[in-house]
């Protein structure tokens, strides 16, 4: 500890798991927005990633509550948030936003899109898998053109509702921080917007990488038109995200209120590595530069793929660093503005590094299972074609 802190402030309350949580929900929102680009805005080029983006969103959404559960002092009481939610609390209302998004948007949309495949698989597979598919059909085997047409229309509406729902899902997380007037590092009306755009950036980058990775694993050539379009949207979203963060920064420096001196010192010392080096230079300026180059100049396919992959990896690292800087940074300085503490990540404890790493790997395990159960790609006569509902 340095300087003066209120005695109860020295120990951090929200650990790396609480950093992980907005990171995971951000990836969900971002992946979903990319999927909705095709479905609602008819951006045909990104169709090859539609189902993959949805499954990625689902895998990460399933894991998202786990860091919260591990963090709670009494996880066995967590159901209270649904039984007696305090309506004034953003955190309580978020429980319902999460449930709405999971069940009414994501699960329904995936089900509607995959229904014809599920029915076919229920009839063609054997053993335990057959039972699973039969349950998923909900007892209805109607995949006539009429039924599928209805599915398509309803799916479109769900996606349409899903876009503001995804905004709400992650904007709410931003609001959970942004509405805390006690903490000047968090308290700003820009927080939900910044969180949302950084979520979109990280989600798009993730789907880009997943697409490249799955193409490599399936030994299929990448549809460059698709990849270029994803990279283009990544670039645009990043420009907006960067502008918002710059606006926040410039505003703080210019107004220089009572918290400024303390926060400025914190950024230059405690957060130098995570904010200035990793988030800003490595995680924002470098990918922006790479992507602008690819937008301005024409490069060969191989070079473009390397640029996109590098930019996407750096972006995701940068967005994780941004979550770290918000959550951990907000607890490193004293509310008296007279001192600082430090955060030592434990290793093997419930809220330690090991848990965080395990929780970051788990969505990929779940995604693997989801791909096995609900294959995004169809094999017809040995030729692999991208499947999308029945069109």
């Amino acid at each position: 500890m340095e300087g003066f802190m209120y005695p109860n402030e020295v120990e951090l309350q929200w650990s790396i798991l609480i950093v992980l949580y907005p990171f995971l929900t951000g990836l969900v929102a971002g992946a979903f927005i990319l999927a909705s680009l095709e479905r609602v805005f008819r951006v045909e080029e990104v169709k090859p990633t539609y189902r993959l983006a949805l499954l990625t969103a689902l895998a990460f959404l399933i894991v998202a509550p786990l860091p919260l559960q591990l963090h709670l002092g009494h996880p066995e009481r967590s159901l209270e948030m649904y039984l007696t939610p305090h309506r004034a609390s953003a955190m309580a209302m978020f429980g319902f936003v999460y449930l709405w998004y999971l069940m009414a948007v994501l699960v329904v949309e995936i089900w509607l899109d995959y229904r014809s495949d599920i029915v076919r698989l229920a009839q063609s597979s054997r053993g335990a898998k057959r039972l699973l598919y039969r349950i998923l059909t909900l007892g209805s085997y109607n995949i006539s053109p009429g039924a599928l047409g209805i599915d398509d229309r309803v799916g479109w509406i769900i996606t349409l509702i899903g876009i503001p729902s995804a905004f709400l899902l992650h904007g709410y997380v931003g609001f959970i921080f942004g509405s805390v007037k006690a903490n000047p590092w968090w308290s700003t009306p820009l927080m939900p917007v910044v969180f949302l755009f950084s979520a979109m950036v990280s989600g798009i980058a993730l789907v880009l990488l997943m697409y490249m990775a799955t193409c490599a694993m399936r030994r299929v050539s990448i549809d460059m038109r698709c990849l270029d379009t994803i990279a283009k949207y990544l670039f645009y979203t990043f420009v907006i995200d960067f502008s918002l963060e710059m606006l926040d920064l410039i505003h703080r420096i210019y107004e220089a209120d009572e918290s400024f001196r303390s926060l400025d010192f914190m950024v230059h010392t405690r957060l130098f590595l995570s904010q200035i080096l990793i988030q800003i230079i490595l995680g924002t300026l470098t990918p922006l530069a790479l992507l602008s180059l690819s937008q301005i100049f024409t490069f060969s396919v191989a070079v473009r793929r390397r640029i996109y992959a590098t930019a996407a990896v750096l972006t995701i690292v940068g967005i994780f660093a941004m979550r770290w800087n918000v959550v951990i940074g907000g607890q490193l300085f004293s509310k008296s503005f007279l001192g600082y503490t430090s955060y030592k990540v434990a290793f093997v404890t419930r809220e330690g590094l090991l848990s965080a790493v395990a929780l970051m790997i788990l969505p990929f395990v779940i995604l693997y299972l989801l791909i096995k159960i609900l294959p995004p790609w169809q094999r017809e006569n040995g030729v692999v074609a991208e499947a999308h509902g029945d069109d």
Binding site: L79, Y82, L83, T84, H86, M103, A104, V108, W111, R115, T137, L138, G139, S140, N142, S144, G146, A147, G149, I150, V154
Partner: protein, 157 residues
Amino acid sequence: MAEFKDSAHLIRLAGVFLLGLVLFLVLRSATIPRSFGRYGPFRGDALAEISARPVAFAGHEACENCHPDEAALKASGAHKTVNCESCHGPLAKHADDPGAVQPVLPDVAKLCLRCHSKNMAKPKGFPQTEARSDSGSKPCDACHKPHSPGMQAGDKK
């Protein structure tokens, strides 16, 4: 009719959701604490539970009930704002059963210096001492009786 047939699966889906909602409502009514909402958006029984905690300090009125002489002596001296348990420690157990629990007085030197050791942050006019230089090697209560700490007549330095 054909339309209805084609959206039958959606009706099944709606049914699943409805079932989930009903189960949730049943679970809710079974598990919400009965006293929730009695006084406000919280569990009403908590008030009783928190109030039921046993006290550790008896409070000076309890002391003065049995020890009126000490109370009277203290009330006329410089220590009139100092409550009994401030020096004698928490004694609710002694007040409940005086014979069973005997209060033990802390070491005099440490006790007096807790308040009176010299410190520049203390209010001006508050009696402070460098202890050793003021008393030599005598304990504080050789000259200052704690219940009425003014210098005793005849014990002037």
